[in-house]
């Protein structure tokens, strides 16, 4: 039971972090069909910016400045890069962001070095908030939950209550119609792209010291965010939210339960020995499969249900 509650909380924290990344990517992918490989790079940049800023000024200014910087970079990428390659089609846009992701990784390596940087939780939040069944729950994780919940609320309000949000919603499902009605869809896209990158940057600021701030963090996070976006479905933020939380829970719970298929079979009175066919597959424990699960999900969803959980159209 205690393992369950603690994992539930941790899974929720991780899921909200994923949502912060995936929400921007879903908007970008659904509106313009750009599969943005550099999205997780913005997450990494956010973490590194926050590290540098927190060394000189402090963590709290970094919480605002780093996402803004990421947003500016995102706007620049969209205006000077993506628009140029747009006329060569979606594949060219995808390749452009892919190249960009490579460059950002290398750039980060050359600026901050190959090793992880000591980006730590601010002292103000570095205490256990409460004890649950003898396990401490750090205050920083609660802080992450609060930030991501606030952000979720802001996105929801922005999309449903403001004029520009309504246009974004329209452009999400019917981009051609929205532009035919006289809305400046390219400008809206720049805005969404910048906002999405800023959100990814924010996720980096609060996720960088929760996980490890290292040059490989973009390439480990990137594919998982893609899985979340595909799983949630194109054009659906609600689906994206559910998928994020689900993915967070799956990944957390997979680490906790140390069981394998062989254990399951043993319950039914069938012992797996080394001579059993596929013994190796049956003996793999769940924590080791955990890293593999998201990608298995990605392949299966794209094969059997390309529109994802709540998508409005096929990926």
């Amino acid at each position: 039971m205690e393992v369950f509650v603690v994992s539930l909380l941790n899974g929720l924290v991780y899921g909200m972090l994923l949502f912060m990344l995936a929400s921007g990517l879903t908007l970008i992918l659904s509106m313009m069909g750009v599969l943005n490989f550099a999205h997780a790079s913005a997450y990494m940049l956010g973490a590194y910016f926050a590290y540098t800023i927190s060394v000189y000024i402090g963590f709290w200014p970094a919480l605002v400045i780093a996402p803004l910087l990421c947003g500016l970079i995102g706007a620049a990428i969209e205006m000077f890069g993506l628009r140029r390659v747009h006329r060569n089609g979606h594949i060219a846009e995808l390749l452009f962001t892919f190249g960009l992701a490579l460059l950002i990784e290398k750039g980060v390596q050359m600026t901050w070095g190959l090793l992880p940087v000591p980006y730590r939780v601010p002292e103000l939040l570095d205490f256990p908030l409460f004890k649950i069944y003898g396990t401490q729950f750090p205050a920083y994780r609660a802080f992450m939950l609060v930030i991501s919940a606030l952000m979720f609320g802001a996105i929801w309000l922005g999309l449903t209550r403001t004029r520009i949000g309504l246009v974004i919603q329209a452009a999400l499902t019917h981009p051609d119609m929205a532009s035919a009605l006289g809305h400046n869809v390219p400008r809206i896209f720049t805005l969404v792209f910048a906002a999405g990158t800023a959100l990814a940057g924010l996720a980096g600021v609060i996720g960088g010291n929760y996980q490890v701030t290292e040059p490989a963090m973009a390439f480990t996070m990137g594919p998982i965010v893609f899985v979340v976006v595909v799983f949630g479905g194109l054009g659906s933020l609600a689906g994206c939210f559910i998928a994020s939380i689900l993915m967070g829970l799956i990944q957390t719970f997979a680490v906790v339960f140390d069981v394998s298929l062989a254990d399951l079979l043993a319950k039914f009175g069938y012992t797996v020995t080394s001579s059993t066919p596929f013994a190796e597959v049956l003996n793999v424990t769940l924590p080791r499969v955990g890293a593999l699960l998201p990608f298995l999900m990605l392949v299966l969803i794209l094969v059997f249900r390309p529109r994802g959980l709540m998508g409005t159209r096929d990926t």
Binding site: I91, A92, L95, L102, L114, A291, L292, F295, D314
Partner: protein, 429 residues
């Protein structure tokens, strides 16, 4: 025989290339010690394997318009299959000449190409890119998980000296392996070239260019993609088999996303449109990788920049840029472009040097310092923390860029004038 005679002229360049490639290592032959340069042979072998890999990748990307992020899976599975076959031959379970090990890799690649292809070819365009990425991540995490087939982190080591050669060679020296590689590389390249002329190759082009119309004509695009994917797996697998013979080890690195990215970068830099584009791209990428990384760790940055420049300004790649000169060359007016090219050259060189200096300065201050390396040019030690080198690099970059922009405008005018004149002449005659 009649077939051969009729096509004789088109076979000639292949033969010539084969002889040249066979001769290149002798340029670096150490006559004093009586042996080949190990570095050159390793480099050429690497180019050979990666060129086959890139060509097989282009069967998807160039021919069928399928962007894959997991192509290394096919290379790696071929390599693992070949490694297991070698182990079986060593154990005496089966008999297979050393020369046919790449074929075993190819068949492995074909099998896995068919199995994985059945899954991934359900999708096309962006969804295909995502599903191949998922597959790539899946296989590379599985490679670390299952010891039996993949050998975990250590991979599977083999010994290529098997005493089962058809021509009585033991393959103890890199030179012998290089010869074998060259033969296989040419077989694979010729077959891939011929494949572009088969009905399947043409229909793959059709589904790339007009997906719906190809469907209307009565072809199932899914099956076209599947066959193309499986065949591409066959050739990637041959590359994998050669990889095993050269390095005598196969690790999870061969199925990793990085390897897949290498193929993508090589194909796009070289150009997906022409058949020889991927080979050109591979040569550029491998030379940058091996040549530049001796000095710094930044080769991927240079390759990445080259890639982005290609995506933004020259989607046809290097081969596309070459092809653009063809009409001018045929009209015999290349001479008129010489001066503009000569004028654009110095600023381009300055920009390049400034950029390289900047990158190297940055990488030596952070990565190099951590590894205890010192930055020196021609014996002069350079202090990377002093402002002067940075100022020089930045100034070269900025001023060179401004100058290059001016020259580029003049170049463009000249280029437009020449092509316009050729077009007019063509229309009149």
């Amino acid at each position: 025989m009649t077939l051969l005679r009729r096509h004789w002229p088109s076979y000639l360049p292949w033969l010539l290339a084969f002889v040249i490639l066979l001769a290149i290592p002798f340029l670096f032959y150490d006559w004093g010690k009586g042996r080949h340069s190990g570095f050159v042979l390793t480099l050429m072998s690497e180019i050979g394997v990666m060129a086959i890999f890139a060509l097989s990748y282009n069967m998807l990307m160039g021919q069928a318009g399928l962007l894959s992020f997991g192509h290394a899976v096919l290379l790696g599975m071929g390599a693992y299959c070949a490694a297991h076959v070698v182990l079986l031959v060593k154990a005496g379970t089966i008999w297979l000449p050393t020369e046919l090990v790449p074929l075993a890799g190819g068949l492995g690649g074909l099998f896995f190409g068919f199995v994985f292809g059945w899954l991934v070819t359900k999708q096309r365009a962006t969804a295909f890119a995502m599903i191949t990425m998922g597959l790539g991540e899946l296989v590379s995490s599985a490679a670390l998980m299952f010891m039996g087939f993949f050998g975990g982190e250590g991979g599977i080591s083999i010994d290529r000296v098997m005493d089962t050669s058809l021509v009585g060679v033991k393959y103890t020296s890199p030179w012998q392996v290089y010869c074998l590689l060259l033969v296989w590389a040419f077989i694979a390249a010729v077959l891939m070239k011929l494949q572009t002329q088969t009905p399947l190759g043409s229909i793959a082009n059709a589904t790339r260019d007009n997906f719906e119309r190809a469907q209307f004509v009565g072809y199932d695009p899914r099956m076209v993609r599947l066959y193309q994917f499986a065949l591409s797996g066959f050739f990637a697998g041959i590359g994998g088999g050669l990889y095993v013979l050269i390095y005598e080890i196969v690790t999870f690195d061969t199925v990793s996303a990085g390897k897949s990215a290498n193929a993508l970068l090589a194909v796009y830099i070289g150009g997906a449109g022409g058949f020889f584009g991927p080979i050109l791209g591979t040569i550029v990428v491998v030379l940058l990788q091996s040549g530049v990384s001796l000095l710094s760790n930044a080769w991927l940055l240079y390759v990445g920049i080259l890639f982005i420049v290609m995506v933004m300004y020259a989607p046809g790649g290097l081969i596309g840029l070459l092809f653009m000169h063809m009409p001018i060359w045929r009209a015999g007016r290349m001479r008129e472009l010489l001066l503009p090219y000569a004028r654009a050259f110095p600023p381009a060189l300055i920009v390049l040097l400034g950029f390289v200096l900047l990158v190297e300065l940055a990488s030596f201050t952070t990565i190099g310092a951590a590894q205890g390396k010192k930055f020196s040019i021609g014996g002069h030690l350079i202090d990377t923390t002093a402002p002067l080198p940075w100022v020089i690099a930045l100034a070269a970059l900025v001023l060179g860029a401004l100058w290059l922009r001016r020259e580029a405008r003049g170049f463009r005018e000249r280029w437009d004038a020449v092509t316009e004149a050729i077009k007019l002449k063509g229309a009149m005659s």
